[in-house]
Amino acid sequence: MGTPKLALEDVSVVLGSKLILRDISLEVGEHEFVCVIGASGGGKTTLLRTVGGLIPAESGAVLLDGAPLPGPNPRLAMVFQHFSLFPWKSVRANVAYGLRVQGRRDDAGAVDRLLGVMRLTEVADHFPHQLSGGMRQRVGIARALAVDPEVLLLDEPFSAVDAITREQLQAEVLALWERDAARSAVLVTHDIDEAILMADRVVVLSGPPGRITLEVPVPIPRPRSPYALRSHEDYPELRARLWEAVRAGLEGAA
């Protein structure tokens, strides 16, 4: 195996005076989809923010293609848990935001294409407050994909929408990721089924302080659907192992 797309080497993070992440080592390959699961408060958001360059690591390093990432980098893009759209910008302006601040031109029409793919064309001139939660997160996803990132970081992106919308969005994100062989993804979630549905590999983060307690590949072939998934022969054992690890992490913390 060559250099991984993204690597964390013994990353520890301290916020305030509290150790939040301890010696995290993790590799994400080219076009790999990695899910990080763990109970809330375990440091999942902190992990993503560290990878995104929003908070510095106390020790250790985050590497992109083997080179250290000192801060935010346009080759990574983040989808936020609570959407975090600009309320004063239209849907279109929100999606175009990353390209604009990075001074990049949209010659390929990425914004229009993503508005279409995410079924936002009709509301392109609306403001975020006029949209449902699911639509808002579509904008958040389109905004991240518009800059054509090599690594997509998603922080519990479906936790604030209803169950039906969540299934739709999961399928849409998977389809978009499958279509682009140059894109890796790290998705953080507390939903074990979501992790099994989406991931090539699932990582269990237990804490605080957060540390990786289990790493398992998901052997179920793609394309996956939430229904076919549950009837796959490997599913029950995989789910049981992940659940056990998450629970053990909780008890360890308590």
Binding site: P72, F80, F86, W88, G98, V101, F127, V147
Partner: protein, 247 residues
């Protein structure tokens, strides 16, 4: 809208009926006020006073607003300045600005300058304090978005700081209009020999009650009109906001 106009009509009618029934020195009534205002336009006293007051109001308002926004933005972004300004600002804000007028007269005399200073002071604080708050209330999660998309610092001003502070600034302006109007009139009471405030005082002293009411009505109309203008501007500017979200 109909109800608003209805309330105006009812009040005017009641005033007319009641006003006619009592001594015209104590209270005047609408038709007499209109008549007086025509007289005052013809003899030139009203246009002159209005011009004088508007110059003071306009200049003071402009200086106060610009200074308020500039200082407010700086104080909102620089903790040190905010800490430095905190107590003096609160002390000045709590002091009735009227109390400062004699001091201002001592410093600046009885002329236009003193009056402009008074209006500026009246206007400055609501604008400054609201601007400062608005700049501090930039949502943290959006700052994070801007950073994660590698926004240069200077772009954050236009994308983030200004749009989120603007509603607060406009609220400050709305308060400032009312206070600015009070500022001019009170300043003209004290320093005088010019403006609408002076017109009120001299006519009151001469028991020309109808004439006294003319500048009062004009001030009221001025206040309502500028506030309406600002509200219209607000609706145009803040289409992105929910109706139930006002700072």
């Amino acid at each position: 809208m109909i109800l608003r106009w209805l309330s105006v009509v009812v009040i005017l009618l009641a005033w007319e009926v009641y006003g006619r029934s009592i001594n015209p020195i104590l209270l005047s009534y609408p038709s007499a006020i209109i008549e007086s205002s025509l007289d005052m336009v013809i003899d030139g006293s009203l246009p002159k006073a209005l011009r004088e007051s508007l110059v003071v109001l306009g200049t003071g308002f402009l200086i106060g607003c610009v200074a308020g926004v500039v200082i407010g933005v700086l104080a909102g972004r620089r903790r040190a300045l905010a800490a430095l300004l905190d107590w003096p600002l609160n002390a000045l804000y709590a002091t009735p600005a009227v109390a400062l007028i004699p001091v201002i007269v001592v410093w600046f005399g009885f002329g236009v300058t003193a009056k402009i200073v008074v209006v500026t002071l009246f206007v400055l604080f609501p604008v400054l304090i609201n601007t400062m708050r608005g700049v501090q209330e930039v949502p943290r999660d959006l700052i994070e978005v801007a950073r994660s998309f590698c926004s240069p610092e200077r772009r954050m001003w236009g994308d983030l700081v200004l749009p989120s502070a603007l509603p607060y600034i406009v609220t400050g302006l709305r308060l400032a209009i009312g206070r600015g109007l009070i500022g001019v009139i009170v300043a003209e009471f004290f320093t005088a020999f010019a403006g609408l405030g002076n017109l009120i005082v001299t006519n009151a002293n001469n028991f020309r009650t109808a004439r006294m009411f003319v500048p009062i009505v004009i001030i009221a109309v001025l206040g309502v009109a500028t506030t309406a203008l600002l509200e219209w501007l607000e609706r145009r500017l803040f289409r992105w906001r929910r109706m139930d979200e006002t700072p």
